[in-house]
Symmetry: C2
Subunit: 252 residues, 2 copies
Amino acid sequence: MKVLIVNAHPEPASLTSSLKDLAVTFLERAGHEVRVSDLHAMDWRAAIEAEDFGTSANSPLAIVTDSGDAYEGGTLAPEIAAEQAKLDWADTVILNFPLWWFHLPAIMKGWVDRVFTFKYAYGRGEGNSIRYGAGVFAGKRAMLSVMVGGGPHHYSERGINGELMDLLFPIHHGILYFPGFDVLPPFVVHDTVRMTDERFAEVAADWEKRLLELDTIAPIPFRPQAGGDYERHELKEGVEREGTRGLRLHVA
Amino acid sequence: MKVLIVNAHPEPASLTSSLKDLAVTFLERAGHEVRVSDLHAMDWRAAIEAEDFGTSANSPLAIVTDSGDAYEGGTLAPEIAAEQAKLDWADTVILNFPLWWFHLPAIMKGWVDRVFTFKYAYGRGEGNSIRYGAGVFAGKRAMLSVMVGGGPHHYSERGINGELMDLLFPIHHGILYFPGFDVLPPFVVHDTVRMTDERFAEVAADWEKRLLELDTIAPIPFRPQAGGDYERHELKEGVEREGTRGLRLHVA
């Protein structure tokens, strides 16, 4: 495998960053190639600014079209083009982060906002026809590796925070599946505020096992836009198993 | 009302920023007080860094406890303390932003990550007992004002992106209701990529109407943690209307 790990934590000694380091060790030991985008170490800017688009930036700034022009015209800021090149190189992408306020840390959201530009990651095909199971990342796999402070029952089917897979849907389906990734079930570490050396050893063992099966485990069976289940961007009646509601409609 | 508007767009002439400007005009004309945090204009840093916590930053950095110590010890970075003071002042908060990759733009996520510190916005009460309908923002109202590129049918009950209220749940419930806000139904502008002068005039009229009823419209009836519907952080069986599933379990 050619694995890109995107890491979002300011502390190199954190649990999150430790899993990033372990991933490099485990994967390279097994003969895989690894590249890392360690966003804090790179001093990654999170906010989109006009300078991202170089000479393609108009005034007033039009983020969608200016970013598409910058991508196609080769005027994207070098650090953005470099991340797109890493994504093009990789066959497998891991987003490794702590769940902050039920989503990506801002620095990682800003990696998505800036790198997933128009014409590269979205706006492909007439009328948004090339997305959800198709697109620039088709044939590649992506997985979230998520550190969660709270325990699993807070995130269970009836847990007060909402079920974890529903909370992650905007990332899994909206950020990863949309531009074409096959999205693997997440690697989740719960109760990170109560980590011990003993538990960490168990987590590390589970992590190695998961990393070495990244190229074989089954992805989440999201429904491809062009797979026949949707008509005019809405799910056809009767496609789902009876009683399925909400976001789970979009999983076959 | 005392209204804090948090705005996330780099372009002052954008639709998003125009709605921010209109909100100031409409609200002040009606006699309300308004303060604005225009994040790009403030050059708001999105990523949490050790310097956020001043002398409370430990090495290795422990974000939860260091941020709580910094809040309680008064060593938070001045720009963070200033945002907390604005939140303490306000009785109504509007987050005004374009929906990017189905969530807040990174700069606004970073406003949440950095300003909603431990002991201020979370970690109150024994065993997380003061949250979801209680907490620092109890008695205040919050509303999202969201610019959405796509049309409503992409975000309908069976729309391919997922239903908009489900996609916004991690923000509504996880970011706003968690620390105590009453969360108002969002003000949503769809099809922003096809805006015309005529439509903009309609949007502006709807916006003024909504702004002037912020203190009277009914909030989303999320279930308070301490309201009796939950036991050990899970929703009791039989509380919901039959057939309710997923994230909607948490709306009464």
